[in-house]
């Protein structure tokens, strides 16, 4: 076999394998979210997590991919919009590429490999919303919002950074999506939470938060292990090529950040809450994974330890802080994905080293060294601008769409349905039929 053909085959194998790992993260989210919520809402949460990937697949195929990666202007794609039918001669890459998805012409794999890999990322952004709005949102309203985030919000913000749009041109770097995936999901979730309000009984009249216990920490732990595993597709796969030094480096950096974050979250929860709370440790690991997602191809292993350590601390403080603000997020999605998506994006501006990107052979033309490595504020400024622009766009559009959904079809289930549980109210069935569960919450 010719070397070029072998190259295409190996790269395609890598992109699809890691894409399948990212697909598997849907299971992780389903387990984490159902485990951290109550028995009476389990069917609803599982149904939301399951159907959201189906909705994402349809939405991203029909419009999302074209809007995100089609050639167009600085704000969104305009060519090859619908159903991925634009002209394309992949796996030809670089100067040999002829087609309308030139923002992805740097990787030499077939178009459908590119599409699948980008699709599973879109699905991840959409599923982040599910946990934050859990235990009170109407099933139908959630499905409609999922469709809208995958057709409009995620692809436009993604075009700015990954599709050759204006933030990419300004030199913002987000290797695997701390902003594109996690902050986007986080801002959309925050908008939803603000319009929904807290669950009944979460905050006492005097403002103090009451714990609403997750019903199965075994499931939550299973879910976080699945997500940690899936992240070895999320970050190393974002090379979209079987580049040996890069994928090995990124896999280790990803793991070390998660490990450091789990350790500092354990410590922080021990010191601040008196006992090492497992749900906080799990959130801590995820925080480290989200934070390293943007910088994973640009930072050293010691830097990844620092990023993870900070992320683990940040997530514990954020969980407690959101409760002070009466922002009810049952699974900590904002603390994990929003706060650490922002932090990870800024971490590029703090910890990036051009020599790392050069040594592992990732394409980082235009990257400046971070503030802590003598590059001054240039990269940090670009990162902050990008994070702020995405925040403004995603939060405001999400708020408008959530408000529209509320006006047209309603957002929140009735009080009596919420008390009885969404499993009976929305789906007419229980998750653990035949088991006796204690029913005071």
């Amino acid at each position: 076999m010719e070397p070029a053909a072998l190259r295409v085959m190996l790269d395609t194998f890598w992109v699809l394998l890691t894409g399948f790992l990212v697909f598997f993260m849907n299971l992780g989210f389903a387990m984490v979210e159902s485990g951290l919520c109550r028995v009476k809402n389990t069917v609803n949460i599982l149904a939301k997590n399951f159907v959201v990937f189906a909705v994402s697949s349809l939405a991203y195929y029909f419009l999302g991919f074209g809007l995100m990666y089609g050639d167009g202007n600085a704000l969104f794609g305009t060519q090859g919009l619908l159903a991925v039918v634009g002209q394309d001669n992949s796996p030809e890459a670089g100067a040999a590429y002829r087609g309308v998805y030139s923002a992805l012409s740097w990787t030499g794999v077939p178009l459908w490999a590119k599409f699948f890999f980008q699709l599973v990322f879109c699905g991840t952004a959409a599923t982040i919303v599910s946990g934050a709005v859990a235990e009170r949102i109407r099933f139908a309203s959630f499905i409609v919002f999922s469709f809208l985030i995958c057709t409009l919000i995620y692809p436009v913000a993604g075009h700015w950074i990954w599709g050759g749009g204006w933030l990419a041109q300004l030199g913002m770097f987000d290797f695997a999506g701390s902003t594109v995936v996690h902050s986007v999901g986080g801002w959309a979730a925050l908008a939803g939470i603000l319009l929904l309000g807290p669950r009944i009984g979460k905050y006492r009249p005097d403002g103090l938060a009451k714990p609403i216990y997750g019903h199965n920490l075994s499931l939550a732990t299973l879910g976080v292990f699945v997500l940690w595993f899936g992240w070895f597709g999320f970050n190393p796969g974002s090379t979209m090529a079987l580049n040996a030094p890069a994928i090995a480096h990124i896999a280790v950096v990803t793991n070390m950040s998660a490990a450091a974050a789990a350790a500092t979250a354990t410590l922080a929860s021990w010191l601040l809450a008196g006992k090492p709370d497992l749900s906080m440790i799990l959130n801590g690991c995820l925080a480290g994974l989200v934070a390293i997602t943007a910088p994973c191809a640009f930072v050293s292993v010691p830097s990844s330890l620092a990023i993870g350590a900070a992320a683990g601390l940040l997530v514990v403080l954020a969980v407690m802080g959101f409760d002070r603000l009466r922002i009810d997020d049952p699974v900590g999605a904002l603390s994990v994905h929003l706060c650490n998506g922002l932090f990870g994006t800024l971490a590029v501006g703090l910890f990036a080293e051009k020599r790392i990107a050069a040594a592992i052979g990732t394409d980082a033309a235009g990257l400046a060294d971070g503030l802590l490595f003598g590059g001054g504020l240039r990269q940090l400024g670009a990162q902050a601008l990008g994070a702020a622009a995405v925040a403004g766009f995603v939060f405001s559009v999400s708020l408008a769409l959530w408000a529209l959904i509320r006006a047209v079809m309603g957002l929140r289930v009735s009080r009596s349905e919420e008390i009885m549980g969404l499993d009976i109210g929305e789906h007419g069935m229980e998750a653990y039929s035949g088991f006796q569960t204690f029913t005071n919450t």
Binding site: G201, G428, M429, E430, Q436, T437, T439, N440, T441
Partner: protein, 113 residues
């Protein structure tokens, strides 16, 4: 001595506990129960087949009290559990023949204490 038994809506349990606390009634047993009264049931469906469920989830309280505490106990339960809608539950009061604290062997009023 009386035994007060009450069936209430599960989500009103924290309110009832708080109202009883206010009236210095601290000793209480709680179990899950299924029951049907006037409240109508709900529909479950499984794989396309419908079923009317009329045994609803309730919480059963048992509180043993000396006679002077019967009235405050009843008041506390009503104040905590009443929503004004069908399904709020019922209270039963039974005479209690004897009460023995296992640890000390105390009987009667002091054992309930």
């Amino acid at each position: 001595m009386k035994l007060v038994i009450a069936y209430i809506q599960p989500h009103k349990l924290p309110d009832v506990k708080q109202e009883l606390y206010r009236r210095e009634i601290y000793k209480i047993s709680v179990t899950n129960a299924l029951g049907c009264g006037q409240q109508k049931g709900y529909h479950e469906s499984y794989r396309g087949v419908d079923e009317e469920v009329n045994l609803l989830k309730k919480v059963r309280l048992e509180i043993a009290v000396n006679d002077a505490y019967v009235q405050p106990t009843v008041e506390g339960i009503i104040r905590g559990a009443r929503t004004g809608e069908i399904g709020d539950g019922k209270i039963f009061i039974l005479p209690l023949e004897e009460c023995i604290r296992i640890r000390t062997g105390d009987t009667g009023g002091p054992a309930i204490g």
